[in-house]
Subunit: 211 residues, 2 copies
Amino acid sequence: MNNITDIHYGPLPADSPYVKPFRFHYTQNGKQKSWDLLKVHDSVSIVIFNVTRKKLVFVKQFRPAVYHGIISSDGVQPGSIDMVKYPPELAVTMELCAGIIDKPISTIEIAREEILEECGYDIPVERIEEIIRYRSGVGTSGAEQTLFYAEVTDADKIATAGGGVDDEMIDVVEYDLEEARKLTAKGTVISSPPSFLFGLLWFLCNRAPKS
Amino acid sequence: MNNITDIHYGPLPADSPYVKPFRFHYTQNGKQKSWDLLKVHDSVSIVIFNVTRKKLVFVKQFRPAVYHGIISSDGVQPGSIDMVKYPPELAVTMELCAGIIDKPISTIEIAREEILEECGYDIPVERIEEIIRYRSGVGTSGAEQTLFYAEVTDADKIATAGGGVDDEMIDVVEYDLEEARKLTAKGTVISSPPSFLFGLLWFLCNRAPKS
């Protein structure tokens, strides 16, 4: 999945459907202020636990934003990337199954679709539990993300499904509880977002079966 | 702190120091792809526990990005905001003490400064503990955030400090353990980022004194 070549940057097109930046002006307690931000879609993410095999189900994918975050912090320009020093694997993230809310169906329906499309489990919404809503990217986008929890079984798995749709290239991975617990331990350096860490720790504290 | 008026939007200036959007082009497994993203600063955040009074120390502030996220999801245009229906308090977030890495000092030194500037506690770096590093905004920015933990006492408090620097308007709030625990419970809807929820839950699982 990670044969990445020919990295280069270009200007943001004015009609980008994904990133719409602008400047927000306001007055706070009589003082004129402004903040540069962008509109991104609200989203869902789902902690998935396969109860048949007692495994958590996560997704891994190459994230261009993370790759750029890594090389730009080191001052590396796109035309001169040492692909041995900066292999694309550095920017393969581990995340919860997730998706943006980009059509007029309910949040939980979006969650149901993502569980099927990304991870291959076909379950009804009645088996998906809403946990908590929060704001991601409070400094730049402020979009709402809803965290869900779902238990699946091997019988729910559609053999031909998973891995994303269109040209998404998503790997599904499974972690047992002990491996997963280590990901939240002191000293961890992980290419995962904080929503992954929170969802995982929430599961471990509230839903993980006692061994 | 939340007398907010005169909200309007303008274009993003080409020289914005905060939001630098562009298009990232690459080839993955022979398929040409692109991703729209932006460079944002790496950052730190700190879970602060006042051991004198057994209280967690958080910060609250008006976040333009969250306000925009709320009204734009409802299709409200900036020229016609009903400030009774959408009071600015909706976009006052609760967060960990945090800050961007915008100068050439160590990450832990940045954390030390933020603890003083935002929350008013003056402690040496030896009392700040690095917990975990992760990537925020994996879809749009991919910046690294380092989570720290610090225990403070009332004796560390500088009476005149806290609340941010320059024209930051930051309120410091304290939560006891029982109040804090409720923030991570099922059914919560909170104007906080997932890094707050993870840091809080990590503390509750790993450092909170047993009652």
